[in-house]
């Protein structure tokens, strides 16, 4: 069987039983046409060589047990507009009013004809298909059943805080958010929760000139859940994009970020802290395109792995001809807490401009014994000393969160996880 038919086969398998919603029909049609040409990847795809997409391709999601311990939700003390999804469906009754000055929010599931998002929905996803195809995102555009369409015209006074609850062991959710920030607009988006046993999640963020977008995400820690997520960000001049993701647990997570600088002097920082114990496969795949002058991109990814957990990082910086004075930085590191864990990293730079500053680094190693002894010699017990050093290892990622209260919440989440996974 040739490669193309394997992909077509995989696509047919996945689409069996999926129904295409009717809202925003035109962009969904277009996505369907693109998808048919792509099919779905197998492990033979170079872009998927470290992560096996088989569980994503299956017709039916594998069950994922619901987490038993009921940890306090993150960002609880924050003054925010709270939005709740249950098993992949927006729950209006459990959510705050969708009224926020400077922001209009509507649901994908009941977007009327002529909605502003008709031209935006799937647009950045489509752009993000070159030079590398991302079929899961296209499938998402075609089949997403819910999500939020957010238009920010000014400076949002409060963050939007989305919580994804999961009540069903078999939820198979496809969610798609479109966020459009006009020139000078500002928004902070918080996301937390497991969402589904199998989640396909897309966010498209279109930043106008000088717009500022902060994104902080805590992916649900249910052990068995699987997720493929994409963030597509498109930055006009002077814009700022910052995204941080905390991943604790999960059988399979593939987080892709596709970021394009279209105007000069913009900044994009993307960071991820991942912690896995046992059956945990976590893949950060980033593609940053510098197509304008004097932009700064920064990728900071760290993973803490134990008991056979696997971490993957594929990060690419593409500097196009003419994108002079580009400042690109990329670091990926893993802390391997035992011999059975594994970190696979593939950093890439592709540069067609001659006056740029780009650097990358990748390391993996164990906890520093000397530092551990130093802490213990001061009276800090072994477990606490290990936790302190693990948090220290992750500190550079959390430093990418500008809001100190949010950073503190993330730190607390990490500490809870570490306490639960001490042995």
């Amino acid at each position: 069987m040739g490669a193309v038919s394997v992909k077509a086969e995989a696509l047919m398998q996945r689409l069996a039983g999926l129904a295409r919603p009717s809202e925003l029909a035109a962009p969904r049609e277009a996505a369907m046409a693109r998808l048919a040409g792509m099919g779905l990847p197998s492990k033979r795809d170079e872009y998927w060589q470290y992560t096996d997409p088989a569980a994503l391709n299956a017709t039916v999601a594998l069950p994922a047990a619901l987490a038993v311990d009921d940890d306090a939700a993150l960002f609880g003390a924050l003054d925010a507009v709270r939005l709740v999804f249950v098993d992949g469906v927006f729950d209006a009754a459990a959510s705050d009013d969708l009224a926020l000055a400077g922001v209009t929010i509507s649901r994908l599931a009941n977007a009327p004809d002529g909605h502003w998002a008709e031209t935006a929905y799937g647009a950045l996803e489509a752009l993000g298909q070159t030079p590398i195809a991302r079929p899961w995102a296209t499938l998402n555009t075609a089949y997403a059943t819910d999500g939020l369409l957010i238009h920010v015209t000014g400076k949002a006074q409060k963050p939007l805080s989305i919580t994804y609850l999961r009540r069903d062991q078999l939820t198979d959710a496809i969610l798609h958010h479109v966020i459009k920030l006009d020139a000078g607009a500002e928004l902070t988006l918080l996301e937390q929760g497991p969402a589904a046993a199998r989640l396909n999640h897309v966010i498209e963020v279109d930043l106008g000139t000088s717009a500022r977008f902060h994104h902080i995400r805590a992916q649900g820690r249910d052990m068995g859940r699987r997720a493929v997520t994409h963030i597509f960000a498109h930055l006009a001049g002077e814009a700022l994009f910052k995204s941080f993701t905390l991943t604790a647990d999960g059988a399979l997570t593939r987080n892709e970020a596709v970021i394009t600088f279209a105007g000069p002097n913009a900044k994009a920082h993307i960071a991820g802290a991942a912690m896995g114990d046992g059956a945990f496969h976590h893949d950060d795949t980033v593609f940053i395109t510098h197509a304008a002058e004097r932009c700064e991109s920064r990728q900071v990814f760290k993973k803490v792995l134990k008991h056979g957990a696997v971490g993957v990082f594929q990060g690419k910086i593409l500097v196009k001809k003419g994108a002079q004075k580009t400042d690109g930085y990329q670091i990926s590191q893993a802390l391997l807490l035992d011999d059975g864990s594994q970190f696979l990293a593939k950093p890439e730079l592709e540069i067609y401009a001659d006056d740029v500053k780009c650097s990358h680094g990748s390391t993996s190693g164990a906890i520093d014994d000397t530092a551990l002894f130093y802490l213990r010699s001061r009276g800090v017990p072994l477990r606490a000393a290990q936790s302190l050093l693990i948090l220290a290892f992750l500190a550079d990622t959390i430093a990418e969160i500008e809001d100190e209260a949010i950073a503190e919440d993330i730190r607390a989440g990490l500490e809870t996880w570490l306490a639960r996974h001490e042995s």
Binding site: S377, G379, V380, P381, L382, L388, A392, F393, L394, D396
Partner: protein, 251 residues
């Protein structure tokens, strides 16, 4: 206070005997110095007492106020009042100095069944102690020992000692890497902590540190043993004549 009897220690990884029968008794409030040539086992003694991995005790004992030190994890030894000022203080990127101090202090208190110190009291305490050692707010905020000069690292060790208030302090070549002014400052910090209930074991190559921290007893260590014990004059003898004469004496 600290009783070391016939302590024999070898390296875990290779069959190499480092300490070959060290016996030492330090009473409450006393300051003892250990001098000796390179490779005599001085640092090994400090590591074994504080519980570092990599050593096997093959014979002998070490007790702190009657409690068997060698049986305890390093953190328990610390909570019992043992403190080692490192020859090479460790850099810990990502952990703020303040967080480090507070975590250590509260961990020891918790182990001893005492209440944790409040954030306000801690801040007051650390500011007061830091001021005496000329440690500024900036140094307290930075990650532990990261980017510190040699002198700053040693002052930071003494700050930890002042905060944790141990009863048995081991100073492992605290004078190494210090200029004259820094040595004076560090010594003043140590002297300020001297009290009837607190003992010191000062490990050094040079007599000059002992000009500042005046010992009650001086031991000479060579080839894993204490070969001679005397008063402060013994340190002067070493400074003037080197170790050769002493080593010849015991042969």
């Amino acid at each position: 206070m600290l009783e070391i009897k016939n302590l024999h220690v070898k390296l875990e990884e290779e069959d190499k005997q480092i300490l070959k029968g060290v016996t030492l008794s330090i009473g409450a409030g006393e300051v003892h110095a250990i001098m000796g040539p390179n490779g005599s086992g001085k640092s090994t003694l400090s590591y074994v007492l504080s519980g570092r991995d990599g050593y096997t005790v093959t014979d002998g004992s070490a007790t702190l106020d009657g409690a068997d030190l060698l049986e305890m994890d390093p953190e328990l030894r610390a909570a019992q009042g043992l403190f080692l000022a490192f020859q090479y203080p460790v850099e810990i990127p990502g952990v703020g100095n303040m967080t480090f101090l507070r975590t250590a202090l509260n961990a020891q208190r918790k182990t001893r069944g005492e209440p944790e110190i409040s954030a306000g009291d801690f801040l007051k305490l650390v500011r007061e102690k830091a001021k005496n050692l000329k440690i500024d707010a900036e140094m307290l905020k930075r990650p532990v020992n990261v980017g510190f000069s040699g002198g700053e690292k040693k002052r930071n060790e003494i700050l930890q000692m002042a905060m944790l208030e141990p009863k048995m302090c081991i100073l492992d070549e605290t004078d190494s890497g210090l200029d004259v002014d820094a040595m004076k400052l560090v010594s003043e910090g140590v002297n300020a902590l001297r009290s009837a209930g607190r003992s010191f074991l000062v490990i050094t190559h040079y007599q000059r540190l002992l000009d500042h921290i005046k010992p009650d007893v001086v031991h000479i260590m060579a080839a894993g043993r204490i070969i001679k014990t005397g008063g402060p004059e013994l340190a002067l003898e070493v400074e003037n004549n080197g170790y050769a004469d002493l080593l010849a004496e015991v042969k």
